[in-house]
């Protein structure tokens, strides 16, 4: 690169962003590795080795977070992929009302998560909630959606899918619309039906969209906090606690070292699952 070019594209352009990004994001990330090994009061710390991590794995009310975080991420991600693909196919098809449906499906993405959480927790009230009242109209006794520890996490996950599926859908719509017309023409000449069209053209060729949706939804699921916090605060008991909500609870309780250890665990969790996943997915994409 010539000297002139270096002068025009000077790294001084990066300085304002770098200052903020390094101080507020990069430095705390590195610091978290150190502080996770301490008992920490913000003004003072004491090195205690891996004690925080051992506590995290040993105490049931903390270790339940691993299981829940994983389940939550897999369930929300899986449903967003399946429903997003279905809606994507539907909304790029011949329907005359697809513009209306696109708007309706997408709108929840823009609504505040807290508002969505509160609205649904009211509708999921075991006796007077709208959902169970409707079910009882048909003679079905609905469960206590958020009060029953064995289904509460899944109930929250359903609301997460309701809110997030619009995003998955628009990614799929973009992916499907970018498939060249010739493929469909070739299929028509060969006489394939709409099932063939889906299975042999849309599904394989919208693979990049699938990858984006999987990675975004999975990482989002691993990190999610606000919806769970607005709906159950981790309860009943600890049955809907995820790593992110445990980080907040330990922070509130003043266990800053333990909270930071939770952050490091989440960091490792996300990196160990998300990086190999994205590499695996993109390798497949090249093979295609």
């Amino acid at each position: 690169m010539s000297k002139l070019q270096r002068k025009i594209y000077s790294y001084s352009f990066l300085v304002p962003a770098a200052i903020v990004y390094i101080i507020i994001f990069i430095v705390p990330t590195f610091l978290s590795f150190f502080f996770s090994l301490t008992r920490w009061t913000l003004s003072d710390w004491e090195y205690i080795g891996l004690d925080n991590f051992i506590t995290f794995f040993k105490e049931p009310y903390l270790s339940i977070g691993f299981r829940n975080t994983f389940i939550y991420a897999v369930v929300t991600c899986g449903l967003k992929v399946v429903l997003g693909l279905l809606l994507g196919v539907l909304l790029t098809g011949a329907l005359r009302i697809k513009n209306y449906l696109r708007s309706v499906v997408f709108f929840p993405t823009l609504v505040s998560t807290i508002a969505v959480g509160i609205t649904f927790s009211v509708m999921m009230h075991p006796t007077t909630g709208l959902i169970n009242e409707t079910l009882s109209f048909f003679g079905i006794k609905g469960p206590d959606w958020l009060g029953n520890p064995s289904i509460a996490l899944l109930s929250v996950a359903m609301v997460d899918v309701w809110k997030g599926v619009g995003f998955a859908t628009v990614i799929y719509i973009a992916g499907i619309m970018s498939i060249p017309e010739q493929y469909y023409e070739a299929l028509q000449i060969d006489g394939g039906g709409s099932w063939h069209k889906f299975w042999h053209i849309i599904l394989p060729l919208s693979r990049p969209a699938t990858n984006s949706v999987i990675i975004l939804a999975f990482i989002g699921g691993l990190r999610s906090f606000d919806l769970i916090w607005a709906m159950t605060k981790g309860g009943p008991g600890f049955s809907t606690d995820v790593i992110a909500s445990i980080i907040y609870k330990q922070y509130q309780a003043g266990f800053y070292g333990l909270s930071t250890a939770g952050n490091v665990i989440l960091f490792l969790f996300v990196s160990l699952l998300a990086f190999p996943l994205s590499r695996f997915l993109t390798r497949k994409e090249v093979d295609l």
């Binding site: 352009f13 994001f25 329907l95 823009l110 930071t260 990196s271």
Partner: protein, 276 residues
């Protein structure tokens, strides 16, 4: 069944589902915001005997010494300031990151893109902000929003910058332009489509942000809209009408953005996710 018949069936089914899944919850929110406390407590879809929307709005606003007014102001300030800083800072960074390739480039890209995946370390960030005297301040929260939104914005800007031919730069240099004049007078105006996309998507994200204000701006003086909503759930325990009036009021700004910029928002989100 004929092709037309099948199409019609799918249309009817999907409209019915959209009404049940999306319109009913929205209707429920609006309806509850119209009611008096007793009727709202029944949590049903019955039409209210008296429409109290105006009175509810007044009560929500007056509550706790006009907390909601303060929250609207704070949320607006947070959103506007963060977006101004974000667009300037990210477009500048993206300019050099896209145009210049040398040994440092892959490292810079790596650190920036890592920000899309890595969950921010909460307590150490508080510690750093505290050390700088910025914890519990609007400035501190704006910086946090900028730092966390930066990777996404850079990605969008960099993608778009690739479509602006380098010939323009060369022509400008021949005319005696320096780097900064080239960027601010020629390149930045050309980025307008992507800038407007970033403004709308980030406006929604930051306006709706709950986690960062919760951690970095605690205290009732500085409350943001999402925090009022969250706090009201415990304070309005038997006043569902007021809680849902609050929800309705908070949903209006994103709704307006949605009505006017639907296409922009969708385009931005798709571009960001597919490139990432």
């Amino acid at each position: 069944m004929s092709r037309k018949g099948r199409l019609l069936t799918i249309e009817i089914v999907s409209v019915a589902l959209s009404i049940i899944l999306f319109w009913v919850p929205l209707y429920f929110v609006i309806l509850t915001a119209l009611k008096n406390p007793q009727e709202a407590a029944r949590m049903n879809l019955d039409w209210p005997t008296e429409i109290r929307l105006w009175q509810n709005i007044k009560e929500v606003f007056v509550f706790r010494d006009y907390m909601l007014v303060r929250a609207f102001w704070n949320s607006t300030l947070l959103t506007v300031l963060s977006i101004v800083v974000l667009t300037v800072v990210s477009s500048m960074a993206a300019f050099v990151m896209q145009r210049r390739q040398d040994k440092a480039s892959p490292w810079i890209s790596f650190f920036v893109l890592a920000g899309l995946i890595i969950p921010p370390a909460v307590v150490p960030t508080i510690w750093v902000l505290n050390g700088l005297g910025l914890f519990k301040t609007m400035t501190g929260l704006v910086l946090v929003e900028v730092a966390l939104g930066f990777p996404f914005c850079v990605m969008l800007y960099r993608g778009f910058m690739g479509t602006i031919p380098k010939d323009i730069d060369e022509a400008a240099v021949v005319d005696g332009y320096g780097g900064y004049r080239l960027f601010f007078q020629i390149i930045f105006p050309l980025l307008k489509p992507v800038t407007s996309t970033i403004i709308v998507t980030q406006a929604v994200v930051i306006f709706n942000d709950f986690v960062n204000p919760l951690y970095f701006l605690p205290g009732s003086k500085n409350v943001t809209l999402q925090l009022t909503l969250y706090n009201f759930t415990s304070q309005f325990i038997s006043k569902w009408n007021l809680l849902f009036t609050d929800i309705l009021l908070i949903t209006i700004p994103p709704l307006i953005l949605f009505i006017f910029f639907n296409k922009r928002i969708v385009a931005g989100m798709v571009a960001g996710s597919v490139k990432g």
